[in-house]
Structures are given as C-alpha cells and as structure tokens.
C-alpha cells in the first residue's frame, strides 16, 4: 500500500464520519434551566438526603449546561419533574466521567428509587442506555415528583442533561456509538498503518505519530464513556485516574511529535526548549496523579494543554524557513484548535449545544489525525527530495570541482616549474653560502688547533730545554773529567815497577791525584752520569707522551685507556701547571678501555685542564693553594657501565649565566683578542661524537668541576 492510496482511503473514511455526524444532528432540548443546585462546601458534605432536601439554599441554575466546577466537594442537583407527563421517560446526563453520581427519585418527599451511576461506583452500568448515565423516572402517582442527584468528581462537573424517551435515548446512543466507532476506526487504521510504516521505513517520526494518535484516541475513548467497554472497573486504582493518565500521555506524545515533526531543535530552538519545559510540568502532573491529588493534577494538565497554541507560531516559522510539511501540520492543528474552541464555547453556552458542536472535538481530532498523516507523508517526501537534491548538488559541485581542479592543476604545474627554478637558484646560493660557512668554521677550528699547538710547543720546548741543557753540558764536563782521569791513567801506565825510582813515580801520581782533586772528580762524574740518565729518561718520557698525545690516527675510533691519555696530556702540560698548581691525580685501577678517538680526546682534556689552571692562576694565590684534582673511575648504574673522568679546580667558579653559555661557540670570558671562544665548543662537539655525558658543576668562589662519562 503506497502512501497516496492510504491517504485516499482515509479521505473516504472521513466522508463517512461526516455523513454519520450529519444524521445525528437533531436538535436536542437540554433542561439545564430547570435545575436547582446546592453547593455548600461545609454543610453539603455532612448532611443526609432528607436534610438536604429541606434546606432552602437551593439556587436555580441559569445555564443550559450547568457547570459545577472542579472541586472535591459534594454537589447536589434537584430537578422538579412533571408528575403527569414525564413518568416513564429517562433523565440522561451526557457526561460519562462523573466519579460518584447517585440519583434519588422522590415522590412527595419519599425516595422511591435510587440509582448509582458514577464511574467509580459498583454496578453503575447495570441497565444502562448507552455510554451516558441514565435515570428512569418512576411510574408513580405523586403530588410532587423530584429527582435529586448527589455528585462528586475529580473532573469538571458539566451537566448537559435532557429528558427523553428510552427509544430516543437508545437511538441517539446507537448513532453516537457508530460515530465513535468510526472515529476509533480511523484512529485504529492510522495507528496500525503508521506502525507498519515505522517497522518498514524505520523513520522514528512514524512511531511517535502512532503513540500520539493512540493517546489522543484513548483520551477520546475515556472522555466519552467507553472505558467500561474495556473492563477498566476491574482496576479501581487505574479507573479513578484513567482520564488523568491519558491526559498526561497525550500531552507528552503530542509535544514529542510536534518537536520532531517540525524539527524544532533546528528551525525554532527556543520553542524546542520551551516545550521541554512542558515535559517537566507534565511529569509533575503525572506524579500528582499517582499520589492521588487528582484535582491538582487536572488543573496542571489543563494548564499544559495550552502548549498546543505554541505549535501555530512554531509551524509558521518553520514554514517560512522553507520546510513545506509544516503547512499540513499548521492546518491540522489549526482545525484541532478550532474544534477545541468550539467544544469549550459549547460548554460555556456561547454556542448552541447540538450534535455538531458536540462532535466538534472528535471530528476535529479525526481531521487532525488525517492531515498529520498526510503531513508525515509529505515530510518523508520532502526528506527524500532533500537528500536527492543534495546528491544532485553534490554531483554538480564535484563536477565543477573536477573541472576547476583540472584547470588549477595546469596553472599549478606552471607555477611549480617557475618556483622550482627559483628554488634551485636559491638552493645553489645557499649551498655556496653553506660551503663558505663550513670553510670559515673549519678555519676557526684550525686556528683554535693551531693556538693550542702553539701553547703546547712553547710548554714542551721549555720542558725539553732543561734536560737537553744539562745533558749536553754534562757531556762536555765529562769529557774534561775524563781528560783528568786519562792524565792520571797515563802516569800510572808509565810506571815502571822495575825502575829504581818507583817511589818517586808513585808519589808523582799521588801529587797529580791531589792536584786534580780526583775524589771530587769521581763524585762529579757520578752526579753527571745520574743527570744524563735522568735527562734521557725525561726526554724520552716527554717524547712518548707527545706521541700518545698527538696520535696521527686521532680520527679513528680505537680502544684506548683513558688513564694513559690523561697521563700523556699531563706530560705535555707539565710546564703549564708545574709553577701554577698542585696536581692531585687519582686514576682508577682496572679502568676498562674506551672506544674513542684518542687524539681528539686529548684535545678535550687539554682544553679543560688549561682552563682550570688559568682560572686558578688568575687568583694570584700561592701555588700550594691551587689544587687541580683529576679522578677516573668506573661507574655501574642501572645496568649501564660508564668510564667517568672528573676534573676539578678551586678557581673562581662561574655564575649561572656564564655556565649556561660556556659551550656556545665564540663565547669567551677572556679579553678581546685572547682566545677564540671555540675551545669548549669544540670539546662539546668531540664529546657528543663520543656519546659522552657532560656535567658542569660550578659555584662562584669555590671552583668548577667537569664530570664526563663515556659509555662502555
């Protein structure tokens, strides 16, 4: 079944309902103005029937449909009957929602019949003529015949009453039943149809719509007295509250449906929020209902019902924003609101009480349902159209995009070519600059190297000068001493033991010995030889140190002993610290060899040691106070092994600011022209190549310590 054929069928149903309503449209004669009413909140509650009847506080009703309002109190209504003409007829109260309704037929002050017809009263439906409570006028002869009604309800007490023959009442009931059956048929069909759509299409708004019409239909069912057909009396608790429960849920579902149908969160957010507020109030009504505060609950529900008036501006705004299904919605709710207004005005006596006005509410509601169903179909169509349109639009846009991208690509390729050419030029320039910078840097590093070599050679020259001086001088002196010795040996060799003047010869040797002070000469030879030996040892040590220090394989990584490197550095630096500082050397035993570039490491140690010595020397203290301490040690921590070198001075130390910059290239604390500022920066570079960790601890006035750790 398509949506269109469904809509056609619904229209046929509608036509049927209209015809039925028209046929039921006979004018009815209501007897509201014949009634007398007693509403004395204090006394009426406590008094019995006999007392009530005798009171003179009865007031005649002035309305066709008397309205006794909404209250907990008991109300009394009295009707004087025509004892001749009205016997055998029925009094009908066209309100099926009165909780407690007892009718007393009084013949000359005596009760001849009592009927309980309230919905909460047992057996209220026994002998009923249709859904409305009826009271047969007894066939008795009396001077005065009265009907007195005792009423109590948690809903508004409206009393449209008439007196009619049983056949007429039954006929009207039948007609009403048919009309309501038609109405409920419409509701049921719509309910099932939309549920079906929900399960097949999966759009949530169908489910919401189904719930909405279920609740609306249920409300009409209850209001028009059809609840007993569903045996609601079996659950007294629910029976008492059923009108309120349906009131709350029909309100809630209406709001949910309206919110989602009109896409309020998107088109009218403020209204969406406002209606959410109504949710809370409805829930309050539900709580009041459950707690049994039914009068209050009814008031709250009535207040909330006004929410539907907001639907009109909401639908108009949504429609203005181009959402066409809102048209149907607007029409549906406008008709419903008109129906509600007609219903209310009928009760207020503004417009006549007839079948049309009586049926305004279910009729309006039915039309509303149908229109909303159409609206829903339109909405689905709209959504489909929108998505199809969106797809088309997307396709168009993607085509345009593609064309633009193609054009852009061509342009881009040209620009890329241009840019590439530019970049290549820039690149070439940068490469030249880089090369220049690199060569400048190399020159600087070279000059730093040359400076340290200069310093070294001066120191070493001095170191070598002393031994060379005394070795060469001693050699000459030795020669002279040996000449003296030779002179004596010659004398001794010339001695002729067989000669007579042996004694003379011996004494001349002795003379020579004392003349040359040969004992002193012997001692001197000893000392000179010692000096020569010591000198050769020292020079060879220096040469060995130099060899280790300036290894030509300096740029290759080899296994080397740190201790050996430090010792060789100290040898070549001896002249630097000999007269400036006292050395405390504490080299760790069993130091494992370190993979390193020995030549470059020597440069590191030399730089740091020279800095330390110079720093201490500047203070101008006694040499004994300038302690340079060098320690090596193997460290094992966290499963990692390190070879650690600590070089510590007791110089002036550094401020934090200086300390943070010492490894920066060109940073120097020396006057301009002295030092390139590259020493420690080169040191850092070398240590980085060795993956070494460097720590500098320094405090002004106390000294500086370099701690270097080489991974093993």
């Amino acid at each position: 079944m398509t949506i269109a054929t469904g809509a056609r069928q619904l229209r046929a149903w509608c036509a049927l309902v209209f015809m039925a309503a028209a046929s039921a449209c006979a004018a009815q004669s209501l007897i509201g103005k014949r009634l007398e009413i007693l509403q004395d909140s204090i006394t009426a509650e406590l008094m019995g029937l006999s007392e009530v009847v005798q009171r003179d506080a009865w007031t005649p009703s002035e309305e066709m449909v008397p309205s006794l309002g909404l209250s907990d109190d008991i109300s009394w209504v009295r009707l004087k009957l025509d004892s001749r003409g009205e016997n055998g007829l029925l009094i009908e109260i066209q309100n099926a929602g009165i909780d407690e309704l007892t009718g007393y037929m009084m013949c000359d002050g005596k009760v001849v019949a009592t009927y309980n017809r309230g919905v909460l009263q047992d057996g209220s439906h026994d002998g009923a003529f249709g859904a409305y409570p009826t009271f047969p006028i007894p066939l008795v002869e009396c001077e005065e015949l009265h009907a007195v009604f005792r009423l109590k309800s948690s809903k508004p007490l409206l009393l449209p009453m008439r007196i009619a023959g049983p056949r007429e009442v039954l006929n009207d009931a039948h007609k009403r039943d048919i009309l309501f059956a038609a109405y409920f048929g419409v509701i049921l069909v719509m309910l099932l149809y939309n549920l079906f759509l929900f399960f097949s299409v999966g759009d949530r708004s169908y489910l919401e719509y189904s719930l909405f019409i279920f609740m609306i239909g249920g409300t009409q069912l209850v209001l028009n007295g059809y609840a007993p057909y569903f045996n609601v009396e079996s659950w007294p608790w629910l029976n008492e509250r059923i009108t309120h429960v349906f009131g709350v849920f029909s309100g809630l579902t209406t709001i949910v449906f309206a919110q989602n149908f009109l896409r309020m969160s998107r088109y009218v957010p403020w209204l969406h929020k406002l209606l959410n507020g109504y949710f809370v109030i409805y829930l309050l009504a539900l709580v009041l209902t459950i707690l049994g505060q039914l009068i209050w609950a009814y008031n709250v529900i009535n207040f909330c019902a006004a929410a539907i008036f907001f639907f009109i501006p909401g639908a108009i705004i949504t429609m203005r924003k181009g959402y066409s299904p809102a048209k149907y919605f607007l029409l549906a709710f406008s008709i419903f609101i008109v129906a509600v207004v007609v219903f209310v005005m009928k009760d207020a006596g503004v417009i006549p009480y007839n079948a049309w006005t009586f049926f305004a509410l279910p009729l309006g509601s039915a039309i509303e349902m149908v229109l909303l169903s159409l609206a829903l179909a339109s909405r689905i169509n709209q959504l489909k159209k929108e998505s199809a349109h969106a797809r088309e639009e997307q396709l168009r846009i993607s085509q345009i995009n593609e064309r633009m991208v193609r054009e852009q690509n061509t342009k881009l390729e040209e620009r890329v070519r241009d840019r590439t050419a530019d970049l290549e030029e820039v690149n070439a320039n940068m490469r030249t600059t880089l090369e220049e910078l690199q060569s400048a840097q190399q020159q600087l590093v070279q000059s730093e190297k040359l400076a340290s070599i200069g310093q070294l050679t001066a120191g070493i020259a001095h170191e070598l000068n002393n031994p060379i001086n005394f070795v060469s001088s001693s050699a000459q002196s030795l020669r002279r001493d040996f000449e003296d010795l030779n002179a004596i040996i010659d004398l001794i060799k010339a001695i002729d033991p067989s000669a007579i003047n042996l004694n003379e010869q011996v004494s001349s040797v002795k003379d020579k010995l004392s003349q040359l002070d040969i004992e002193f000469t012997q001692k001197e030879i000893e000392e000179l030889l010692n000096g020569i030996e010591d000198g050769t040892v020292r020079t060879s040590e220096i040469v060995k140190g130099l060899r280790i220090f300036s290894r030509m394989d300096g740029d290759n990584f080899i296994q080397a002993q740190l201790n050996e490197l430090i010792e060789s550095t100290l040898i070549v630096l001896r002249s630097n610290f000999k007269d400036a500082a006292v050395l405390q050397l504490n080299l760790g035993e069993e130091m494992p060899p370190v993979m390193c570039q020995p030549g470059r490491l020597n440069q590191v140690f030399m730089n740091i040691i020279i800095n330390a010595i110079q720093a201490m020397d500047e203070l101008g203290r006694d040499v004994e106070e300038n302690i340079l301490s060098i320690e090596t040690e193997r460290i094992d921590s966290d499963g990692e092994a390190w070879a650690q070198v600590r070089i510590k001075d007791v110089g002036p130390g550094m401020s934090e600011a200086v300390k943070s910059q010492i490894f920066d290239p060109f940073f120097t604390t020396k006057p301009v022209g002295e030092g390139t500022g590259l020493g420690l920066s080169i040191v850092m570079g070398i240590l980085r190549d060795h993956n070494a960790e460097v720590e500098v601890e320094s405090e002004e006035g106390l000294g500086t310590e370099f701690i270097i750790r080489f991974p093993l």
């Binding site: 001095h462 000068n465 002393n466 060379i468 005394f470 001693s474 000179l528 000096g531």
Partner: protein, 178 residues
C-alpha cells in the same frame, strides 16, 4: 777566581754548571733563594746567574728582592722559555746585564761571565776612584781654607806664600783634570 752564584730549581743544571765552570771560577750553586741570599752574604759574589722559571719565585723577582742589599753583582737571567714579558721585566725591573737562553753554550757563557766580572771590577774601580777623588777634593778644600786664613788680615803675601798658593792651584787643577 771570579765568584759566581747560580740559582736554579733544576738540580741537574747546577751539577752540570759546576762541572763545566769549576776550573775557571769559584762556583756557588743552590736551588733555594734563601740559601742564595746566605751565599751572597758570605762570599764576595761578582756575577749572579738565575733561572727565570722557578716554582716559588721567578728569577726577576729574586733580582728585585736582593737589589737593595746587593746592588753591585752583575745579574744574568737564564731561561728556556722565550717569554717576551720575562725579558721586558728583566730589563726594566731587575737591572739585568744579559739574558741567556737554555740550552747554554758553554764557551759563550764562560765569556759572558768573564765580561760580567770585568764589568763588575770596572764598576768597583770607578767606585774606588770616585772615593779617591772625593778624598782629594776634601783635601784641596781644606788647603783652600788654610790659604784663606793665611791671606785674611794681611796686607801683602810673602814670596814663599805666593809660591805655595801657586803650588796648591796647580794641584787642584790637576785633580780636577783627572
């Protein structure tokens, strides 16, 4: 024999120096500056040679130290370190006669010591002559005073007196010429 004092912290240098020059000079050697001062006090040292680079004080500093008490000995600075600052200091502060670099050349050093000794003695001679002159000047002054006392209060000089005055004038002239 010339008295030479040599101060150096390197003991082997001392041994080598003494062995080289003990036949030519009276050699005094020590590694300690305090000991050097004692030697200066006890011996008529003519030439002092000191190493520049020593741990406790430098050669220049040593010369500065002894200058007030021993101005006469001729000083020579010995160093292996071509340190221009040391040379400038040596000349400006230490009244140093010669600067010798290590390793020394024995015969050159010997000549230098001899020259220095010669200079020392020349200076001594000048000093002695100065003293002599001073003495003779005061003698002449005394004579002049005598002549003044003779001439004052007298009308004319005797022939003998005139002869003596001429004699004195000649003597003074001679003295002044010297």
């Amino acid at each position: 024999m010339i008295n030479v004092l040599y101060l150096d912290d390197e003991a082997h240098n001392l041994t080598a120096f003494r062995a080289a020059f003990r036949r030519d000079f009276q050699v005094h050697v020590t590694t300690e500056p305090t000991d050097a001062v004692r030697i200066l006090r006890e011996h008529p040292i003519e030439v002092i040679i000191s190493d520049q680079k020593m741990p406790k004080l430098s050669g220049v500093e040593f010369f500065e130290l002894i200058a007030p008490d021993y101005p006469d000995p001729v000083r020579m600075l010995l160093t292996g370190h071509a340190d221009i600052d040391a040379v400038i200091d040596a000349i400006n502060k230490g009244q140093i006669y010669k600067y010798i670099s290590k390793p020394w050349n024995e015969s050159e050093l010997r000549d230098l010591v001899n020259e220095a000794s010669h200079l020392y003695h020349e200076r001594q001679a000048i000093v002695l002559r100065g003293e002599d002159l001073q003495e003779r000047m005061s003698k002449a002054e005394r004579e002049a005073v005598k002549i003044q006392s003779l001439t004052s209060g007298k009308g004319a000089l005797t022939a003998d007196e005139t002869a003596r005055i001429f004699d004195l004038a000649n003597t003074i002239q001679l003295l002044l010429q010297a």
